[in-house]
Symmetry: C2
């Protein structure tokens, strides 16, 4: 069913691992020892236990003793942790950025529009709480190499360090934009991601509202380009 180089794992070890994955996928809870035995052709529960102990020693699975169905594939073999990140609204040059209420957790709000992101997909240092997403409307962000329809995952922030990409609202131009942020002597430099394009400068005396730091950009190639 599936090619795998056996690393000191016997036929029955493999069968058990495969079954664990398959069963968990189908039922969303782990199988009992007897169920493992039935499906892998092992007639005795003690032998299943015997193999599970070995797999645990090899670090392939984790077990919670005394707990029914307390078996799980360990680490990378298990299904990875996912995050539901709400899409709070559109982002476009002319539109003000959606307000976010930091007191409310939007997680589990299945009514809202949202994207699921595997935690492993986030930048390594990102904890993952409080993230939100915006959907880019129009092509005003092409200088950030971000296109119409892209989804921008962000972390709320009102300040930024040099070199971070931020979503800013420029009251001066009445415009929202995504730029790399640099603090210079008496001005801010907002640098487009596209190196062929010129930065915007904002005096420190002028207003500039940082709304969040960009964590990820996701582009789905849904429909073909119509040109």
């Amino acid at each position: 069913m599936m090619v795998r180089k056996s690393k000191g794992l016997g036929e029955r070890h493999q069968r058990i691992l495969d079954f664990l994955l398959e069963y968990q996928r189908e039922n969303r809870y782990p199988p009992s020892i007897r169920e493992i035995g039935n499906k892998t052709g092992i007639t005795s529960t003690s032998v299943v236990n015997y193999y599970l102990d070995q797999l645990e020693k090899k670090g392939m699975i984790e077990r919670d003793r005394k707990i029914s169905r307390g078996v799980r594939l360990s680490g990378l073999n298990g299904s990875p942790d996912t995050l539901r990140i709400p899409i709070l609204g559109p982002i476009a040059a002319g539109l003000p950025l959606p307000e976010l209420d930091p007191n409310v957790s939007y997680m589990n709000d299945s009514e809202a529009n949202a994207v699921d992101i595997a935690r492993s997909l986030l930048p390594s240092k990102e904890k993952g709480d409080n993230l939100f997403a915006l959907e880019v409307k129009g092509s005003s962000m092409i200088d950030a190499m971000i296109n119409d329809g892209d989804i921008v995952v962000m972390r709320p922030a009102s300040d930024a360090r040099n070199g971070e990409m931020v979503a800013v609202w420029l009251p001066r131009d009445n415009e929202a934009t995504l730029k790399y942020f640099f603090k210079e002597k008496d001005r801010y430099r907002l640098q487009p991601a596209n190196p062929t394009m010129k930065p915007i400068f904002v005096k420190k005396s002028e207003p500039l509202e940082i709304k969040g730091k960009v964590v990820m950009v996701i582009r789905r190639m849904d429909k073909p380009l119509a040109v």
Copy 2:
């Protein structure tokens, strides 16, 4: 712990749902009825059962009767299906594209470099099997609005329909590139995603190898820009 608009759900319904999610995340298997009771302040197993029945009727959870820990959050509330997509190698203008062997399933190959993608994140029509990913090296793909470090998820293909973004190998220029593909009368037009840039034309008599269709592009804003 978490603000939510109760939709005909009482305090205890909520507590149970929250606990289900939390417990499943921590243990990767569902709690028993008694565990639910303990953590939600319900002293009788029958009352937990009572609430679980209601939640099932409302479609919030699914139950497998008679099976220990046979409770799971249903649909969107559960942890979404994820796909492990192998990163087969780099993609850069000068480099040939990595060869892919369609006979081997790379899934579950935890040794290989890979990204986890929630199935819901894929374009809707995408089945999700056979996908692979490439990591963009260098800035030669900026005309496709794809930057150094971006991850391109692709489906193997040797042909494409008009308007689809493809990875092509141009033997003429000894170059790999990502472009929107258009078949015209006697030539192929390879259109950059950036509308300000000009297309490449390839005569139909000239060789052109389509390696795959681009399904997604993922950009992690890992480290700040150093300029």
